[in-house]
């Protein structure tokens, strides 16, 4: 019990205001976890609804819910529902001034999807302060057509406001921000290089995913250290009831998942390994790339009420490695690895407090090994040791208080030998702590707000403290119409040095922003509205404006060692997004459109960054023939990406044979003369993808077959144009793929 007291003590230190809230209550509370009955996995974003009170809540990413202000002494029917699961109604009587714990395990619906009840879905959307937030489950990811296999990053590109510079790479850009402004969290721990194979795929094996939250902006005070977006992936806990083995194979990888119960807990282990490079040729202009990659993750959970009541401990880890070993010694090799390990303690306290403590170590290492090639060696190492303590307290008024303390000890090391043979080593080391507090107003039927402040001591102590105030609001005009708005200031102290002139990049090292530059800062302004047009049809509109200052740019003018590698610039982006969602099983239809403008400014020069997409449209249609058979098609369209026009060539002089005669030192090669940067536009992009998923059982085995066709009508979308040879390189061609998964 001592640790619980420690939590309470710390929480009281943070927020003395709470003491007033622990007074006598006139109502009771209901809380608990909603899980899958077959394996005990948390059901994220499910609905809990009390019909008699027309009140309810949705579960969070860990399946946790809490409902306040429930009349005590009455018999109430609590309805638990989740798409794809049989709705369960439980009759309870709430005891005055007490918190009733009710954990529910829902049974998956096997036969008729149409019978899935949707009670409570309106409640889920009642007053969330969730502007810019997109919640995804594994099922939603799996139903989308895949390039080779399910990939969470590639699926994000179907969302409005998420841009890419082509369908070859899994890298993504959110609302006009650069790629390194996207925070990727695995169980709350930062992954610095979340890509395999030159950025073609993400390192996150979908088999390990339980839920995904993706903030396109306006995220609350508990998140920091990035300017644009947050992708938070929560992994599965593992089957608490039975041992299970899943194995699957695609054209690219073989993978397996093992899970099962342990005393007072469960475990989960996933592993994935590439075994064929032939499919990669389709991504890389028929180039043979000997990439070999793997990733593995594990999670062990322990929850013993005799040890700590309502507490859960998790130990999790993730390993990922990529090697590109050339057969030819005249060619370079590459080596990347991302490893993390973390420990998490979730605690539901006797008071309506929910707390989470994590300690983690996340590392990234990337290396270019030149062998006998003319490349120079490069090496980047990142080590991030972090700890977090987060508390959420629900007041009687239904308002919520959140607070937390985060610390980070970060070191980055970059060793470069540049083309002139100059060795340089950039060693950065810093530690910071962050305090945040936020207050969520949830007491009103038609209004909610989330106001918070994040105070960061800064990795670079010379720049002082950073203050990041944030607010998000929701006002419901009527039952079916909600207005939303958010504003916030965001800081980023660690950046990847990416050359924006590279469409495929092998080495994007991370460094702490050097002392001679200020820390990057962005301000988000977001506003929008949600309309439930019909019971099954909703419309969502969001507009945004984002301004970034002190944005680091690679110093392209650098010619001498003493000149800075990075210089400071600005960025600006704005636009709006419209989503229409029709969901009436067996049909799900989603279409989204976004209009965006993005600019970068360096000195007096303003230009469109390479990911500035003016118009984009994505339409998906999913039909569930039964719970075992479903099909979907997705059509994506976007207006052309910026490119720099050629306005001619000239014969460029290269120094050669300096000790020879003047006339022997005349080596020239064609060199492009470029117009204004990114003023041209590539042709429009469009593509139709198709997916068919079939599940069947044979004896004790379950089979899942996925058939996909990427680029059904073989549209030749241009990727880039080789200026030295004039060759046009296109994106993914017509590409049928299949995946087979077997579950025991």
């Amino acid at each position: 019990m001592i640790p619980q007291k420690l939590f309470l003590f710390t929480f009281i230190i943070f927020l003395p205001i709470l003491s007033n809230e622990l007074n006598a209550q006139s109502f009771g509370k209901l809380r608990g976890f909603v899980t899958d009955s077959t394996n005990g996995e948390a059901l994220a974003y499910g609905n809990v609804f009390i019909a008699e009170l027309n009140n309810g809540a949705s579960t969070d990413a860990r399946g946790y819910y809490i409902i306040n202000n429930i009349s005590a002494g009455k018999k109430l029917n609590v309805v638990f529902s989740y798409v794809g699961y049989r709705t369960q109604t439980i009759q309870i009587t709430i005891v005055r001034d007490e918190i009733t714990q009710l954990n529910v395990a829902l049974v998956p619906e096997r036969l008729e999807l149409q019978t899935v009840e949707k009670i409570g879905e309106k409640i889920q959307d009642k007053n969330p302060t969730d502007i810019g937030l997109q919640k995804l489950t594994l099922r939603q990811l799996e139903i989308l057509p895949k390039g080779v296999e399910t990939d969470v990053f590639r699926s994000l590109k179907y969302l409005p406001g998420v841009q890419a510079t082509g369908d070859v790479s899994a890298r993504y850009y959110v609302r006009g921000g650069t790629g390194d402004q996207n925070l990727v969290l695995l169980n709350g721990v930062t992954i610095y290089n979340p890509f395999h194979a030159l950025g073609l795929f993400s390192v996150i094996d979908p088999e390990m995913i339980n839920s995904v939250e993706f903030y396109k902006g306006g995220f609350a005070a508990e998140y920091g250290s990035r300017l644009s977006s947050v992708l938070s992936v929560i992994t599965k806990n593992g089957n608490k009831n039975n041992f299970s083995l899943k194995a699957s194979s695609s054209y690219l990888t073989g993978k397996a998942l093992v899970e099962g119960p342990i005393p007072h807990g469960s475990f989960m282990f996933t592993g994935r390994k590439s075994y064929s490079n032939s499919i990669l040729k389709k991504f890389l202009n028929d180039k043979n790339v000997p990439i070999d990659f793997y990733d593995a993750s594990f999670k062990i959970n322990y929850s013993n009420p005799d040890f700590i009541e309502n507490g859960k401990f998790s130990l999790f880890g993730f390993l990922s490695g990529d090697k590109l070993n050339s057969v030819n010694p005249k060619e370079e090799d590459f080596d990347w690895s991302t490893n993390l390990i973390g420990f998490e303690w979730l605690q539901v306290h006797k008071a309506p407090i929910y707390s989470k403590v994590t300690v983690s170590l996340s590392q990234f290492n990337g290396e270019v090994i030149p062998n006998e090639s003319k490349l120079k060696p490069r090496k980047n190492a990142v080590s991030d040791f972090s700890g977090t303590m987060d508390f959420t307290y629900l007041q009687d008024s239904e308002d919520e208080i959140g607070a937390g303390f985060h610390f980070k000890i970060l070191s980055t090391n970059l060793k470069i030998v540049n083309q002139k043979g100059i060795k340089s080593e950039i060693d950065s080391y810093g530690g910071n702590f962050t305090l945040y507090g936020k207050y969520r107003v949830l007491r009103f039927d038609n209004f909610s707000a989330d106001a918070g402040l994040r105070i960061n001591s800064g990795l670079n102590s010379s720049q002082g403290f950073y203050y990041e105030p944030r607010i998000s609001m929701n006002y419901r005009l009527s039952q079916d119409i909600a207005l939303k708005a958010a504003w916030g200031i965001y800081q980023q102290e660690v950046v990847a040095i990416s050359d924006e002139n590279e469409v495929i990049s092998l080495f994007d090292p991370w460094i702490i922003i050097p002392n001679y530059l200020n820390t990057s800062q962005a301000i988000h302004y977001i506003a929008g509205f949600d309309i439930d047009v019909l019971e099954d049809l909703s419309l969502k509109v969001e507009g945004y404006y984002k301004r970034t200052i002190h944005l680091p740019f690679i110093n392209e003018e650098k010619a001498f060692e003493f000149e800075p590698d990075l210089i400071s610039g600005r960025a600006e982006s704005y636009g709006y997004e419209i989503s229409i969602n029709y969901s009436s099983l067996p049909v799900i239809f989603i279409t989204s459109y976004s209009l965006g403008y993005a600019y970068k400014q360096l000195g007096n020069h303003i230009y469109y960054p390479k990911y500035d997409v003016r118009h984009s449209l994505s339409t998906s249609f999913e039909y569930n023939f039964s719970s075992d058979l479903s099909a979907s098609i997705v059509w994506s369209f976007s207006s052309g990406l910026p490119f720099t026009r050629l306005i001619g060539y000239y014969d460029k002089y290269y120094l050669s044979d300096l000790y020879g005669s003047a006339l022997s030192n005349t080596y020239y090669e064609p060199y492009p003369i470029l117009g204004d940067k990114n003023i041209g536009r590539l042709p429009v992009y469009h593509r139709l993808d198709f997916n068919l998923s079939k599940k069947f059982e044979f004896s004790f085995l379950k089979f899942y077959i996925d058939l996909n066709i990427i680029n059904v009508y073989n549209r030749k979308n241009i990727f880039y144009f080789k200026r030295d040879t004039g060759e046009r390189v296109n994106m993914l061609p017509f590409l049928p793929t299949a995946t087979l998964k077997i579950e025991i």
Binding site: L198, L284, L324, E331, E332, V368, L375, Q419, K420, G421, I422, D499, N501, E502, V503, I504, S505, L506, E556, A559, F560, E561, F562, F643, R645, L646, I647, G648, Y650, D651, K652, Y653, L655, L658, Y659, S661, A662, L663, S664, T666, P670, Y671, I673, L674, K677, G680, P683, V684, I709, V712, R715, K716, F721, R723, G726, E727, R728, N730, P733, F734
Partner: protein, 316 residues
């Protein structure tokens, strides 16, 4: 009906649509002037061309020489003005251009150290290209530099010199002179000692770097000495001149910057779409720059040379 649907589907799959794409903006003629003045020679050269717009997307197919004839090219150094003449010479490589290489030259400009240089070109069309640069300071070797090559020399011979500015590039080399007597005739030749481990096809590759030091392995010197008589048992036919030379070409600021921005190389997989260019020509592209040469003598010890079976020519 089923057949029609099947055929339509198949047709859709194998129908590929491609939108025409023209990467070119409006072509604007640009002028390119390259003039790197050398401190190791009085013969100076400049080239003047214009940009071109290939009819296909491949610039290598353009074979029409883009040289500009009839321009007035002049270099000013202090109060002296040097006016260039133009000429042509046959190209060694005619795979692309079949016509001779056209250039402007001046056959006597003795380049001083640490002097402002001014270039002015008046094109036949009346347009003017100008540029400024400044020659680097004289190269002076440090006392720490080795002065003798002998059997007792350390494994590495080191040579040091001054720099004119931070980031200055140098192209150093070590050479020695020797003569070979054959049937009564004597032929004098120069041998360059490989100064780094960068060998391409057995030849020494000049290392251009910002290092103001040169390290030469004794092993490389021995190897170079052996190579001059490789396969010839009559070692006594070879005479080595007593003084070897360390030569250093010191780049000026503009040439250093130009070299720095043109000498990058990428791996085979990274795809870079836009390259940054550097030029100091007002009104056009190209480079106006200079380099000067410094020399340092180092002596072979007689016994060292004789250990190879060679003679040594002692200078007075």
């Amino acid at each position: 009906m089923k057949k029609t649907i099947f055929l339509l589907t198949m047709g859709m799959i194998f129908w590929s649509c491609e939108e025409d794409f023209n990467p070119y903006g409006e072509f604007k003629e640009k002028f390119i002037l390259n003039c790197v003045l050398r401190g190791d020679s009085t013969f100076q050269l400049a080239s003047l061309t214009k940009s071109y717009n290939p009819s296909t997307f491949n610039p290598n197919v353009v074979s029409e020489d883009a040289s500009i004839y009839g321009a007035d090219v002049r270099v000013r150094i202090g109060d002296s003005v040097y006016i260039f003449s133009d000429s042509i010479v046959n190209r060694a490589d005619t795979t692309r251009y079949k016509t001779p290489f056209h250039f402007y030259f001046h056959d006597y400009i003795d380049l001083p150290a640490n002097k402002d240089l001014e270039l002015e070109v008046l094109l036949p069309s009346g347009q003017r290209l100008t540029s400024l640069t400044k020659t680097p300071q004289k190269v002076q070797f440090d006392q720490r530099s080795e002065d003798v090559i002998s059997e007792d020399s350390p494994n590495f011979l080191q040579f040091f010199w001054n720099i004119s500015f931070t980031g200055q590039y140098f192209a150093p080399r070590l050479i020695f002179k020797y003569s070979k007597t054959n049937n009564g005739s004597t032929q004098v030749m120069i041998k360059e000692v490989p100064i780094s481990d960068l060998f391409e096809g057995g030849l020494a590759e000049h290392t251009i770097s910002v290092q103001s030091t040169l390290n030469v392995e004794m092993q490389s010197i021995r190897k170079a000495l052996e190579e001059i008589s490789a396969g010839d048992p009559n070692k006594a036919n070879y005479t080595i001149y007593e003084s070897a030379l360390v030569q250093v070409l010191a780049f000026d600021q503009n040439l250093s910057r130009y070299y720095s921005t043109t000498n990058g190389s990428l791996d085979d997989l990274t795809v870079r779409i836009d390259e940054k260019d550097y030029s100091n020509i007002n009104g056009g592209y190209g480079i106006f720059a200079s380099y000067i040469k410094g020399e340092y003598k180092i002596k072979f010890l007689s016994s060292f040379i004789q250990s190879f079976g060679y003679k040594i020519l002692i200078s007075n």
